[in-house]
């Protein structure tokens, strides 16, 4: 089995540890983990910096500023995501996995992998805004606090990915 050959953590142990991080987040800050919210902060900052007059009339920016007064970059999720970069890097360094590379199935080209990665990211970014959070913020953290929306998110994300898996199987298997 793959997990035994590589030096990855046992998935159930990893799950318990991730659960404890999520529990700590709720205990300390009264909120769950997230990821896409930090990108939203960066986009709002970019829009208000480059085109302040247009941004002020934009409903997306206005809604964000009303909910989060102050500097959008001085927010919980931005600091958390900076931590993710540090934590991921440290783990990769300890495990000897630091390497610049494009990971893809031998059946597809690097170019194809990157095109799909970019397109997938674009869809995920858009969907995470519409769905008010991604796999971390909406599905995982939502499920931990028993939010109905969290469970709907989880089923919609994983259900769709399973439904479409057949059509892009060449990319992965």
């Amino acid at each position: 089995m793959e997990t035994k050959k590589t030096k990855y953590l046992n998935p159930y142990v990893g799950g318990v540890l991730l659960g404890l991080v999520l529990l700590a987040s709720n205990f300390v800050s009264g909120r769950g983990l997230g990821a896409s919210g930090a990108i939203k902060s960066a986009i709002v900052t970019t829009m208000t910096t480059i085109a302040p007059s247009t941004a002020n009339t934009n409903g997306f920016v206005k809604e964000y500023s009303d909910a989060h007064p102050g500097n959008p970059m001085k927010t919980w999720l931005v600091f958390e995501m900076l931590g993710v970069l540090v934590g991921g890097f440290l783990s990769g360094a300890f495990a000897g996995r630091l390497k610049f590379k494009v990971e893809h199935s031998p059946k597809i080209s690097t170019k194809r992998r990157l095109i799909f990665a970019g397109a997938g990211g674009l869809l995920f970014g858009f969907g995470a805004e519409l769905g008010r959070g991604c796999t971390s913020g909406s599905a995982l953290s939502g499920m931990a606090v028993l939010s109905l929306g969290g469970f709907i998110s989880m089923m919609a994300i994983f259900g769709t990915a399973y439904a479409l898996a057949y059509f892009v199987r060449k990319n992965w298997i």
Binding site: M1, E2, K5, Y8, P11, G14, L18, G19, L20, L22, A24, N26, V28, S29, R31, G32, L33, A35, I39, N58, E80, L82, G83, V84, L85, V86, G87, G88, F89, G92, F100, E103, H104, L114, A117, G120, G121, L122, L123, F124, G125, F126, G127, L130, G131, R132, C134, S136, L140, S141, V145, L146, L148, G149, I152, M154, A156, A161, A165, I173
Partner: protein, 196 residues
């Protein structure tokens, strides 16, 4: 006692510093579990590697049980913990779009940052895509605002929606998760893949 920041036991700046430490824990566990590899992540959709399912559900159950017990012991006031709102339409449509992005890109936002931190170039391209997607949502906001705000149900708990207590729902979810783990172990034996 908890949540510490909401009860003003710690200051706003301390909260941000702890957010950074929590993020380090988050990124470290994701990378250690193999979430920095898109082929490992996508494996769950083909059965050859189900690490996503195992880690995701074990984490959700651990945190859920932790919160229920902390509440029982009086360590945390769950009324002060953020519960995600439920907007049915945008939740489903957003989730469907995210699912398509997941199977095409092989990452979700959190895992893409984790993978980018160890040098995965495909993850960096995915992140550029994320920024573009959020930007497009932002500039075209008025076009999908109606859908974004439709069918708002408030902040319902899945347990109350199903007419169950939190404890009974948690117990059922654990049973369901154990059944899924059993299927996952079976699938990995049935659809083995070589080294990647």
């Amino acid at each position: 006692m908890g949540p510490l920041s909401v009860n003003e036991i710690i200051s706003g700046n301390t909260n941000l510093f702890l957010a950074f430490l929590i993020g380090i824990g988050f990124g470290f566990v994701l990378e250690q579990s193999g979430f920095s590899s898109s082929r490992k992540l996508a494996g769950v959709f083909y059965g050859y590697d189900t690490v996503v399912l195992k880690v995701f559900f074990t984490a959700a159950i651990t945190a859920m049980l932790g919160l229920l017990f902390f509440s029982l012991f009086g360590w945390i006031d769950l009324n002060l913990v953020y519960v995600n709102p439920t907007y049915v339409t945008s939740c489903i449509v957003g989730g469907v779009i995210m699912g398509a992005g997941f199977i095409m890109g092989g990452f979700c936002p959190g895992t893409s940052f984790c993978a980018a931190s160890i040098g995965k170039l495909d993850a960096m391209v995915f992140i550029i895509g994320l920024f573009l997607g959020v930007f497009i949502f932002g500039i075209g906001y008025d076009a999908w605002k109606g859908m974004y705000l439709a069918n708002f149900l408030g902040f319902p708990k899945v347990s109350s929606t199903l007419g169950l207590t939190d404890g009974v729902f948690a117990f059922l979810l654990i049973i369901i998760a154990l059944a899924m783990f059993w299927v996952a172990e079976w699938a990995e034996k049935k659809f083995p893949r070589g080294e990647y």
